[in-house]
Structure formats: structure tokens, C-alpha cells
């Protein structure tokens, strides 16, 4: 009896607060403003206009760039951490986690004070007699903000996979005559693929849907899909068009996630079966 009723409240809860809201967004996206529901694909057609497609393309581009930079910087860091002496490792991992506990907005705000016209960076430049530059309110600033905010999300999953990896495999490869490069390409990297993939999706997802980083470090006009959605709901008040963009963003992310999952499963199979 208790078994049956104990999840009852959550069934009701998830129906009201998870399923119904998604349904509402779908209904809104498929209709045009008016007192009664009128089916229309107008909102989706409107998104196909070059202005909006350009925003989408820019979001995807900058999120991909942020993900690749995080991977390039984060992978070596994860390897260094994984090989560290246990005594220092706990401290090093903690040092990596501490900034993540800082409020996300404060971390982004910190870069405003550094990149700003009178900020530290320009002070340093003038110290060396170099001309002042505008760092803030540029695409580069947004990219930097993303890398800064999401780098730990890339390092941690890769680090976890690397520490669980069986060292005997690497030693075996070395015994069989592989040099360092070959060991990395043929053994370490393929085995760490599940960590890489979860890191990639943990960076790409928030990067492609953010509106805060672009709002604070780029300012004003719509820059990314997130800003576009926010503007439609809070400024322009076109909830129908906003819902359509949200649906597209949601579908895009769900597709990316399922591709990542599939890739992850293949990676494990290629990596030599069920090692862990």
C-alpha cells in the first residue's frame, strides 16, 4: 500500500510542473496571438529568416569554440591531476572545485572588472606603454567567459575516467614497444572517451543556451539564442515566437545528447569491451 501511494505526489507534481509546461510551450509555438487557439507554423517559418538563423549559427559556433578550447586546455590538466601524488591530488582537485562554488554571476562579473576600459588588463598594457584596447563587449570576451565558467566541467569527468583507468594497460602497451604518443592515441585517449564526451556535453549545453554571459560581457542587442528567447518573453512579449525558439533549442540539445550517448557506447565497445 505504502509502495503504491508514496510516489503518488510526485506523479501529480511532475504532471503539473514538468509535462504541462512543455505542452503549453508546444501549443504556444504552434499558434499565433489571439483569443482563441489558431494552428499555425508561422513562428517556425519566421525563425528561418536570415536574421534569426544568423543568431543560431553564432550561438552554435561560439559554443563549439568554447567546448574545443575547454577540451584542449582541460585534457592535459586532467592528465596532470590524475598522475599527481595522492597527497597533493586531493588539494589540487579541491582547488579546481572551489571556484565552481562561487556564484556563477560573480565569476562572470569578475571578468567585467578585468576587461573593462579602466580595468586591470588595460592598466597593465599602459604600464608597458602599449595602447589601450577594448576587451569588454566583444565576442572574445564572451568566449573567455564561457571557457572560464565551464572549464572545471570538462576537467572533472576526464579526470575521473583517467583515475579509474587500469595502469596495466598502459604498461602493457609500453612493454609491447609503443612510444608515448602511440600509447596516448591508441590506449589512453580511446579509454577516456566516455569522460571526454560527458565533459563535451557539460560544456556545450550551458554554453549554447546561456544568456547571462553574453548579456554581461557583450551587452545589449541579441547575440545568442538565449538572449533571443529572453527578449521575446520579457521585452517584446511575443511568447508564441519565444516558445518556438525554445522548442528548437530543446530539440537541438536533446539530439546532441543522444548522439553523445550513442558515441559513448560505441567508444566503450571499441575500447576493448566491458573493462569497467
Amino acid at each position: 500500500m505504502l509502495k503504491k501511494i508514496s510516489s503518488g505526489p510526485y506523479w501529480l507534481w511532475s504532471l503539473i510542473f514538468i509535462v504541462v509546461p512543455i505542452m503549453l510551450i508546444i501549443v504556444f509555438s504552434l499558434s499565433v496571438p489571439g483569443d482563441t487557439f489558431r494552428f499555425s507554423l508561422e513562428n517556425y517559418r519566421r525563425f528561418m529568416e536570415p536574421v534569426y538563423l544568423k543568431v543560431l549559427a553564432r550561438s552554435v559556433k561560439i559554443a563549439v569554440e568554447a567546448t574545443l578550447i575547454c577540451l584542449a586546455i582541460g585534457y592535459p590538466m586532467a592528465m596532470i591531476l590524475a598522475k599527481m601524488h595522492l597527497k597533493y591530488r586531493t588539494i589540487a582537485v579541491m582547488l579546481l572545485v572551489v571556484p565552481m562554488w562561487m556564484n556563477f554571476l560573480l565569476r562572470t562579473y569578475a571578468w567585467m572588472t578585468i576587461l573593462n576600459k579602466n580595468g586591470i588588463l588595460n592598466q597593465l598594457l599602459s604600464l608597458f606603454g602599449l595602447p589601450q584596447m577594448t576587451f569588454l563587449y566583444s565576442e572574445g570576451a564572451v568566449l573567455l567567459g564561457m571557457v572560464y565558467n565551464f572549464l572545471p566541467f570538462m576537467v572533472l569527468p576526464i579526470y575521473t575516467v583517467l583515475t579509474k583507468m587500469d595502469n596495466a594497460l598502459i604498461e602493457a602497451a609500453e612493454d609491447l614497444g609503443a612510444n608515448r604518443g602511440t600509447v596516448f592515441l591508441k590506449v589512453t585517449f580511446p579509454l577516456s572517451l566516455p569522460g571526454v564526451l560527458s565533459g563535451v556535453s557539460m560544456v556545450f549545453m550551458p554554453a549554447v543556451s546561456t544568456f547571462v554571459i553574453s548579456d554581461l560581457l557583450y551587452g545589449g542587442q541579441y547575440m545568442l539564442v538565449g538572449n533571443l528567447i529572453q527578449q521575446q518573453f520579457l521585452v517584446v512579449n511575443d511568447w508564441h515566437f519565444g516558445s518556438a525558439i525554445s522548442m528548437l533549442l530543446m530539440v537541438m540539445i536533446l539530439i546532441t545528447m543522444s548522439i553523445m550517448n550513442r558515441l559513448g557506447q560505441n567508444g566503450i565497445e571499441q575500447g576493448g569491451g566491458n573493462i569497467w
Binding site: L96, W101, N103, L249, I253
Partner: protein, 258 residues
């Protein structure tokens, strides 16, 4: 040897990258000038103006109040839900887990605007209650995900065994199941609490009517440019986090020594 030093330098650079912005905020929170351009002497005045700032203090109060209520309620609902899901039929289990993963997988902005649309549709004015409901909605899934593995680790028939020995279902739940899954419940509650305290996007769309949390307050201040009070706030928050983490670390290493 060279490799070893290269590694140290690399790790050092990463840590500098991660901490330099925070260090800048901390240093300039004591600067006696409104801009971050020049150091003009040591002062505590930004801390005083911070404590006198009603807007920030009120949002701090709401942040903590919502985090406490939302994480407690989410933990209760989530624990019972995990219990029910664990003993449910396979197809129900699958359906529930799929619905449960929607708020986790969905981008925050989509969760935020869909809840905002729901509240408007229900005729609920945005404010404290809507923000609380929204926070519970994104916290419960994480509680379920941290309780469920503990349920799976239990021997399959402990519940039946307890009831065969004469326990009522409620007694069996309290005396047998609850002690087994309590580590999962505690970590679920902690995750819920930190998620709620740190949330911006979903709160931004579901709060209103003078009710804000700290993230919203920081956002609306930062949008208008650099504010020394925010530097002071960052320093205080960073200190709090550092002390908390050190305390947790100390405690867990003490337990290990025992």
C-alpha cells in the same frame, strides 16, 4: 625532470587563470575608489554600504529562505517518490525516470520560460510562491537520482522480510528502509540546497513582485556596470565557501582517522 616542471607550470597557470579574477575582486573590495582603475588606499566602506543595502540584504534573506524550504520539501517528496519508483512496475519506472530527467537535461532557460508560462496560464502572480514551486521542481529530480541507487543497493526482499516479522508498512519504511538510504537522502538534500542557492536563470523567469534572490540582485546591479559593493559581496561569499569546504574536509579526514 623537464617534463615534471612543465607539468607544474601548466597546472600553476590553470590555477592562476581560475583564481586571478577572484583575487582581483577581493583586492578591489578594499579599494578606496569607485573604479577598479587605481589603488587609492585601504577601506572597509564597501562592506558597510553592502550591509546597509536593503535590496541585497532582502535578496540574501529570500535566497536562504527559499533554499531551506525548497530543499526540505524536495527531499521529502523525492525520497518517497524514489521509494515508490523502486517498487513500481518496469514500464512505470521507465516512464517516471524519463519524465524525471526532463528538468535535468533541458536547458535552464527552457525550464524557466515554460514554468513562467504555466504560472501565467494558471493565473498565479509571480512572486515568492512561484519561485518556491520552480525551485522544488528542479530540485526533486536530483534527490530522486541520489536516493534511487541506495534503494537498488539494498537486498531485494528486506521490506517483505520486515513485514513478515510483523512490521506495519510504515514501520518497515522507517526502521528498515530509511536507515539504509539515509546517505542518499542527505547527499540529495545537499545537492538540492546548493542548486537552489546558486540558481539564477529559473529564478529570473519565475520570481517577481519584489521577491528576488541574490543572483538576480547581482545580475541587475552588474548590468549597470562595476559596483564596489559586489566586490565586497564576492569576498564574503568566497570566504564562506572556503570555510565551509575546509570544515567539511577536516570533518571527513577526522572520520577517516577514527
Amino acid at each position: 625532470m623537464v617534463m615534471k616542471w612543465l607539468k607544474r607550470i601548466y597546472a600553476g597557470l590553470i590555477f592562476i587563470f581560475l583564481y586571478a579574477p577572484i583575487a582581483v575582486l577581493v583586492v578591489f573590495s578594499f579599494n578606496d575608489a569607485k573604479s577598479t582603475a587605481k589603488w587609492e588606499g585601504f577601506t572597509f566602506k564597501w562592506y558597510r554600504t553592502l550591509l546597509e543595502n536593503d535590496y541585497i540584504m532582502k535578496s540574501l534573506y529570500y535566497t536562504i529562505l527559499i533554499a531551506v524550504i525548497a530543499s526540505l520539501l524536495a527531499t521529502v517528496i523525492g525520497t518517497f517518490a524514489a521509494f515508490g519508483i523502486h517498487y513500481a512496475k518496469q514500464w512505470r519506472q521507465k516512464l517516471m525516470m524519463n519524465i524525471n530527467s526532463i528538468p535535468i537535461l533541458n536547458p535552464d532557460i527552457v525550464t524557466g520560460i515554460s514554468l513562467m508560462t504555466l504560472f501565467l496560464w494558471m493565473g498565479l502572480e509571480r512572486g515568492f510562491i512561484t519561485m518556491l514551486l520552480a525551485h522544488m521542481t528542479f530540485c526533486i529530480p536530483y534527490v530522486i537520482l541520489s536516493v534511487l541507487p541506495k534503494m537498488k543497493q539494498m537486498p531485494a526482499d528486506v521490506l517483505e522480510a520486515a513485514m513478515d516479522l510483523g512490521a506495519t508498512p510504515w514501520m518497515a519504511f522507517k526502521k528498515v528502509i530509511l536507515p539504509e538510504i539515509s546517505p542518499g537522502i542527505i547527499s540529495g538534500a545537499l545537492i538540492a540546497f546548493t542548486l537552489s542557492i546558486d540558481d539564477f536563470v529559473i529564478s529570473f523567469f519565475t520570481a517577481g513582485n519584489g521577491v528576488t534572490n541574490l543572483s538576480i540582485a547581482i545580475y541587475s546591479m552588474a548590468r549597470r556596470g562595476i559596483k564596489p559593493e559586489i566586490n565586497a559581496l564576492s569576498t564574503l561569499m568566497f570566504l564562506t565557501i572556503l570555510i565551509l569546504l575546509l570544515a567539511i574536509n577536516k570533518r571527513s579526514s577526522n572520520i577517516e582517522e577514527l
